[in-house]
Amino acid sequence: MRHDSPATPEPMTAAGADAAPGAGFRERIGYQPVLLGVVALLASGALALASLLTHDAIAAAEARDLRESLTRVLPEGLADNDILTDVIEIPRGDTSVTVYRARRNGRVSAVVFQVSERGYAAQIQLLMAVDADGRTLGVRIIKHSETPGLGDKIEPAKSDWAQGFAGRSLDDPAPAQWAVKKDGGVFDQFAGATVTPRAVVRAVKGGLDFFAAHREQMLGDGS
């Protein structure tokens, strides 16, 4: 975007190789496309090779990440299966949501899925776990761009606000109270930031509605 050359002269290199004698081949018109082509070819080769070499390691690291996020929203002891591989895809709107299922003794005890809602700056993505009775087990923000110092209190590292959803279900609190306190609900907002917690509350409520609408499918054995 800003490829302006520096305005400051370089004190140590007054001359510059451009003017060096005996480099006539570099001035030839045919040389320049060849140079550019060779550099581009080498660069793409190096990138392709690096991509091949790192592909598996990256996939493994990302799977480890996902596993870690999943175990953070799920209380311990709920699952004895490999949650990462026990997934179903359920359409929601234009996209589909990947639902991870935690099983104990073969029965689905809880599901984990991702929901997102528009916050103050951009989409807030969060991972939520819901047990078979439709109660929220945990909510964890995984990506957001809210204002640092205000809206970022939704992050688990900054405040434990998001833990306030644990145990909540569609009728606890009553539907009208699924809102921040400013709107007559039960959830705290932050000083100076209402849009962000409002969006998170809406996202969690939406997630619970989504669970209620697809309960059979999520808890059933079909895939």
């Binding site: 050359s5 520096p6 190789a17 570099r26 991509s51 690291a61 110092g149």
Partner: protein
């Protein structure tokens, strides 16, 4: 030769500091310096790319043609950034989660192109590497300083979450000042401009005081400084 390396290092760290003197790379300098940790992380990642790109450009400097040198630099820098990004994602995954966003931003850091153009294309590999290191560390220092000031005034903390960047051993760096809420404005973009302005003014002041005569640096045509 040793004096010359000394000059290179001094130029990178202070006299020709990327942010505070050359006024380059202000986009990342403003965007990510909401905390000292962010500034440090961005600075270190940039330093790595700067050293590599300076060495790469220097090693092919005899083959470069003036007419197509800029596209060649751009290809080299973009590829290096992507390589660093992939490598970190694979082998330093936790660090990548903290720095991931910044790494992509390094591509548009004109300071890297600037060093390739004004230094590496005209110097041998070792001085180029030293120059990249010094310029990168100068950039890191400036970013960390801006970040710390903004963090301190804006959020009342210092080096918050440093341990997630540097490892748990660095948790002692993290300071929270009890009862200090901070002025949000300093964290928001205007605060970045204001803090940078004060820092530029401070650096000029320091240089003017050091030598009573006007500073011999090239930056006498100082841009307007907001204060």
């Amino acid at each position: 030769m040793s004096t010359r390396y000394g000059e290179i290092v001094k130029a990178g760290l202070w006299d020709q500091n990327v942010v505070l003197t050359q006024m380059l790379a202000l986009c990342p300098a403003m965007a990510v310096t909401t905390s000292g940790t962010n500034g440090l992380g961005m600075g270190l990642a940039t330093t790595a790319v700067l050293v590599l790109s300076n060495m790469a450009v220097s090693s092919i400097r005899k083959l470069l043609s003036p007419q197509v040198r800029i596209p060649v630099f751009v290809v080299i820098i973009a590829s290096l950034v992507t390589l660093v990004d992939m490598t970190m994602r694979a082998y330093l995954h936790d660090l990548h989660k903290v720095l991931g966003l910044f790494i992509a931003l390094i591509v548009v850091n004109c300071a890297i192109l600037g060093r390739a153009e004004s230094f590496a294309a005209r110097s041998a590999i070792l001085p180029s590497a030293v120059d990249g290191l010094a310029m990168g560390l100068g950039f890191t220092g400036a970013l960390t300083a801006i970040g710390l000031v903004r963090e301190f005034l804006g959020a009342g903390t210092l080096f918050a979450q440093a341990s997630s960047l540097l490892g748990p051993g660095f948790a002692f760096l993290e300071l929270t000042l009890p009862g200090v809420g901070g002025a949000l404005l300093v964290i928001l973009p205007p605060g970045g401009f204001a803090v940078l302005g004060f820092m530029l003014a401070g650096k000029r002041l320091l240089e003017n005081r050091r030598s009573d005569a006007p500073t011999p640096t090239v930056a006498t045509d100082s841009p307007p400084v907001t204060a």
